[in-house]
Symmetry: C2
Subunit: 336 residues, 2 copies
């Protein structure tokens, strides 16, 4: 399975991207990585890290997209950027998935233009898989692709999120909840009231409205919301987790003796694992004709590794075929 990896977009530099790629290949030997970017810079980093060039295929791209570039300009003026080249590799079937830590808006726009939407999809969405208190994970979608959403869009996010939970998390009949500020059917304004009705009529396992406190309860498998709310929740959760770990570290530092420290550390590693939002690694853009995984700009090498492995799993899965066929079945409701 060939993953086209944008080596240029990460805030922490090409080095952590390459380290992540090495780790991904070590963890799953069926992963092949195509490193896309400025050839000289990549070769220099490989030499510094004493990584053999033969571990990867290098695909040159002469331009680099920055965080300040806008999608419209970039599509016109940076046709040989590492993002554009990675997407082109997927379009030409030279790679099964693309992964980038770069400018999210540009990655989404490029994937959309190069790979196109899947038949029947109105708006692709970003769907993140988050840890919950139970051992289960929850899919939250949309987390940033669409600010203003109509009921038909939210219905499609629900369908695609449900197929994500089914195909990749192995949930048989994923419980879908509509994020709202009350559980009653008419809550939250006209768009959500209509979405509620569409979800009820759909073939999904719709459990009704859910609230902010239900998201990580473990009782819901897919939480549907617009991209403004989802993006805000995701960023808040990340910072809350980091804040909490910092508080714990501060407090342990202040109160522990050497012995206490020993006991503390043992479980701290496990708490960290539950709270480490860098571990989710990558967010798939669902609804496009291909696989595109968007990783955090500030990704660590571990996050890059996980994003690559998510790309592998998505490429392995049959999810795009499932989305197309589910959308055909739900066409009637969507047409409303």
């Amino acid at each position: 399975m060939r993953i086209a990896l944008d080596a240029m977009g990460a805030e922490r530099g090409a080095r952590i991207v390459i380290e992540g790629a090495v780790a991904a290949i070590r963890e799953n030997s069926r992963v092949k990585v195509l490193l896309v970017g400025e050839e000289r810079r990549i070769k220099k980093e490989l030499a510094k890290l004493s990584v053999k060039k033969s571990l990867f295929t290098l695909v040159p791209a002469s331009q680099v997209v920055t965080m300040n570039d806008t999608p419209a300009e970039t599509l016109k003026e940076k046709r040989d950027s590492s993002i554009a080249v990675a997407a082109e590799l997927v379009r030409q079937d030279s790679a099964e998935a693309m992964v980038s830590c770069g400018n999210t808006g540009v990655v989404m726009a490029t994937a959309l233009v190069k790979l196109k939407k899947l038949e029947g999809v109105r708006r692709p969405c970003l769907a993140v898989s988050l840890p919950t208190l139970s051992s289960e994970r929850v899919i939250l979608t949309d987390v940033g692709a669409n600010v203003d959403c109509r009921p038909a869009h939210l219905l499609q996010f629900a369908l695609m999120g449900s197929l994500y939970a089914n195909s990749l998390l192995g949930k048989k009949s994923p419980r879908v909840g509509l994020l709202n500020i009350g559980t009653e059917a008419g809550k939250g304004g006209e768009v959500l009231a209509q979405t509620f009705r569409l979800l009820q009529q759909s073939a999904l396992n719709f459990v009704g409205n859910v609230e902010g406190n239900d998201i990580i309860s473990g009782k819901i498998d897919v939480v549907v919301c617009d991209g403004f709310v989802g993006n805000t929740i995701l960023k808040f959760a990340e910072s809350f987790a980091i804040t909490t770990l910092n508080i714990i570290k501060q407090e342990i530092g202040e109160s522990s003796s050497e012995l206490g420290d020993f006991f503390s550390r043992k479980w701290l590693a496990r708490v960290r694992k539950n709270l480490d939002y860098s571990e989710y690694g990558g967010i798939p853009l669902l609804g496009i004709n291909g696989v595109c995984i968007i990783a955090h700009g500030a990704s660590t090498s571990k996050a890059v590794k996980n994003a690559i492995l998510i790309g592998y799993e998505f490429a392995q899965s049959n999810i795009n075929q499932s989305i197309k066929s589910a959308l055909r079945k739900n066409q009637e409701a969507v047409e409303q």
Copy 2:
């Protein structure tokens, strides 16, 4: 300072409300509590708790509002509810503030109808004060009073939130941020783009757009958003904090020996304090001609105590006068 306390609305019963009132009086002897509700039930609870009746003034109210009651029906049919009587006490200047753990929609509607909006206020808002990683607190507003907001509404939330931070948290020139999904000026759709311009033109210390991860960073004093997003964030934060504490408890339980446990507990109490979202206690409804503090339905006695003390502080402060005068000054921008 007399606080009219709705003794009936708490999910955990009148007992925790009374316990909270006793604790508030112990902590601040200038607090006088008027216990409002069914006389027999209150007397029974006081007897059970061995609390002297003379500690409180009892104000009878024959009806009880449930969580299923709608504001419109309740205002018509439950005119002698504990919520209505508490609001009436404030209206008649027989109390300086009301506090309720009851049905939020009904409490807001009753306060609005009985006490009226302050001159110039378009929409009252709920403003919560949350802990951050730094020792500073942050005001998040609106957290549930208004789902659909126009720029002029959001501007007023910013003004009222800023005065909250100034009058009650002692911040000299509170840094106001507009919650968005990007920091650039045009982000997030037309309503937010217009709000951005209004905030720039205002006399507020507007620092620009902020994102989900900035809310509890400690770098912002007032975060402005619509009630849908704010309510979702607040409920998510509560559940996240509880989840985190549960994970820590589980992990400590699994890994600690008696000795480790001893060291763990010492700091655990301090971590809990930072994460205990029951401690914020009460949320003021800003923009009404009086003081109304809304506490969580599932409040503990500590949360009730804190809600009463917040009511005391608000009644002491000159915030309503400040809001009226600030709104007069900003009239021009608001009229847009």
